[in-house]
Symmetry: C2
Subunit: 344 residues, 2 copies
């Protein structure tokens, strides 16, 4: 079962020209006379000629495709980032190949290597929460694969990075909890090794410090798998509650929704007494109960900026040596007034 299309050779034969002439005419090169160009273009149009991207890739040794690794596409933050990536990539005539790590380092590595063998021209990646060893990425990078990190970035890797202003986002959320009168504010977060975990922890600490609240490490819980497993969350909640928090600041999308879910499931009687502020890009927060204050990341923009940086690396004439880390501001969406809460 094959796909029949006309090739440059067919056109050349039909028009009594050489393939080189046809190729050049199609690519609108200056050496070709207007007349020939017109004839070729018209004929190509007529037979609905499409250049075979595979042949071109082989010749030019690049595939016009960008690999994306996220932990999960069923995550509002990441799917919005992907939309941002696509918006730029398609406009520049790249296509994207998406793979999911499901927060597993092994899966991540497998996917990256699979993509690399598929000749992607560049890679956009948000590390899995498990990942600590990034030597395999360094390897590929060393071999010439441009890489741009976003959201979860390693600190010992020299390349472009795009992140949200995690410090400020966390500071704002924590401050909001403090200002609404909460005294014991817990912090639920991902793997300690992730860049944004660290930054968000700092923002949280800074807000506490500003209001002279002592930082209590006991009340900070880490989820190694970023909340991929419910048990992880339930465990964290179980450990947290005895410490009687009246507010929780949560540092990621999955953890935020997962934590509320765990709270409702395990301790419904206290769930509505605890104020929650967390990172999430869910567009359904307005429906949540208990409601929460959310820190929204500029996901779409993160995707766009990362893609622009990546394409600039791919298309750079000479190896890029100056790298930038772009930091984009988050937005604090405060809990809706009781209006929304009246239901049920």
């Amino acid at each position: 079962m094959r796909f029949e299309t006309s090739t440059i050779k067919d056109i050349a034969k039909a028009l009594g020209l050489s393939t080189s002439t046809v190729s050049r005419a199609l690519r609108d090169r200056y050496e070709i006379s207007d007349e020939t160009k017109k004839v070729v273009l018209a004929y190509a149009e007529k037979v609905n000629y499409r250049a075979n991207p595979i042949a071109r890739s082989l010749k030019e040794r690049r595939s016009y495709s960008i690999g994306i690794i996220v932990s999960e596409i069923a995550n509002n933050f990441f799917s919005q980032v992907i939309n941002g990536i696509e918006s730029i990539a398609y406009a520049r005539d790249y296509h994207v190949i998406i793979a999911q790590s499901h927060e597993s380092h092994k899966q991540e590595k497998l996917n990256v290597e699979h993509l690399a063998s598929r000749s992607i021209d560049g890679l956009l990646i948000a590390l899995s929460s498990e990942t600590q060893d990034i030597d395999y990425l360094r390897d590929l990078y060393g071999k010439g694969l441009p890489i741009v990190f976003f959201d979860r970035v390693p600190d010992n890797f020299e390349t472009h990075k795009v992140i949200a202003n995690n410090f400020k986002g966390s500071f704002d959320a924590t401050e909001h909890l403090i200002l609404s009168g909460k005294k014991v504010i817990a912090h639920l977060t991902s793997s300690e090794t992730l860049s944004n975990t660290k930054e968000r922890l700092e923002g949280y600490k800074a807000a506490l410090a500003k209001y002279h609240i002592e930082f209590n490490p006991e009340i900070v819980k880490y989820c190694q798998h970023g909340g991929m497993h419910n048990i992880e969350l339930e465990q964290a909640v179980k450990e947290l509650l005895p410490l009687k928090p009246d507010g929780i600041f949560i540092s990621s999308d999955r953890l935020t929704t997962g934590c509320i879910m765990a709270l409702k499931k395990t301790n419904p009687e206290v769930a509505h007494k605890i104020a929650i502020a967390g990172f999430t890009n869910s567009n359904l927060v307005e429906l949540f109960s208990p409601s929460l204050t959310s820190v929204k990341q500029p996901a779409f923009e993160i995707g766009q900026v990362a893609t622009e940086l990546l394409i600039s690396m791919i298309e750079a004439k000479r190896p890029v040596t100056e790298f930038e880390t772009r930091v984009l501001d988050t937005e604090l969406v405060k809990m809706q007034k009781m209006l929304g809460n009246r239901f049920l």
Copy 2:
């Protein structure tokens, strides 16, 4: 900035063999002596040889890639379907390229044609809610591109299709509303032209009929863009409320969440008085307020089955002429008891 890897030619030169021999050894063809095979394999391993998939694609005239078109990946149903697709595709050594139609026919067509020109070996597609004209798909199909439809399928196109049991799912949901005492049950649904819109409407009607409730077309509202635009939903809600429904059956993921959102926004005072049952694969329903009864589609399985069917078409020796339509059962998840509703 290039990516340097060793090729078959390099291996051949290093080992003093011909490229044909090396190629055969690597592909484990029978004509090769065990000894040579061993030497080649060992050396290939040593230099970490990876076949260039682009060159192979060119030669074999296929790309080992599958195109996917969905309206949006930021939709639980579709992201679960994609997970199902990936699980099969990767195991069979295909990779997937995902594109989004955003419920726009134009975008859908553009994407499909882009994918086709990228030499995908087959296409998995859920039509956009706008789509009526599928001649362009017929065209590609006629040229030899295998296509499998899922979720939203056209009825006048002979190929494999995979759908949920929309009739039964709708019947169950509607019956559930009736059995919980609702008298005036509205129906909010997508574009009239979509296959599943029709089937779901039939299920709704059948449940009403079973309980001798007269069907009232007035109380059925269609959203042409599947709820992509909020205004569409708010308009529908506005038209529905004067008819005093005490239950609403909603026929798609986006509409379900969108409708609750619109209700809360425009008429918070009645929102909690109306029982809602709707199709949704959101894993966050437990957090919703007002809570709702949901019809969950076997999204992951739909993806798996569709991919198996597609790959069987791709790899078929001769054109496939017998097609099947697989129908998978949905699951009704009833509204949680008031426990969950106590919050807020």
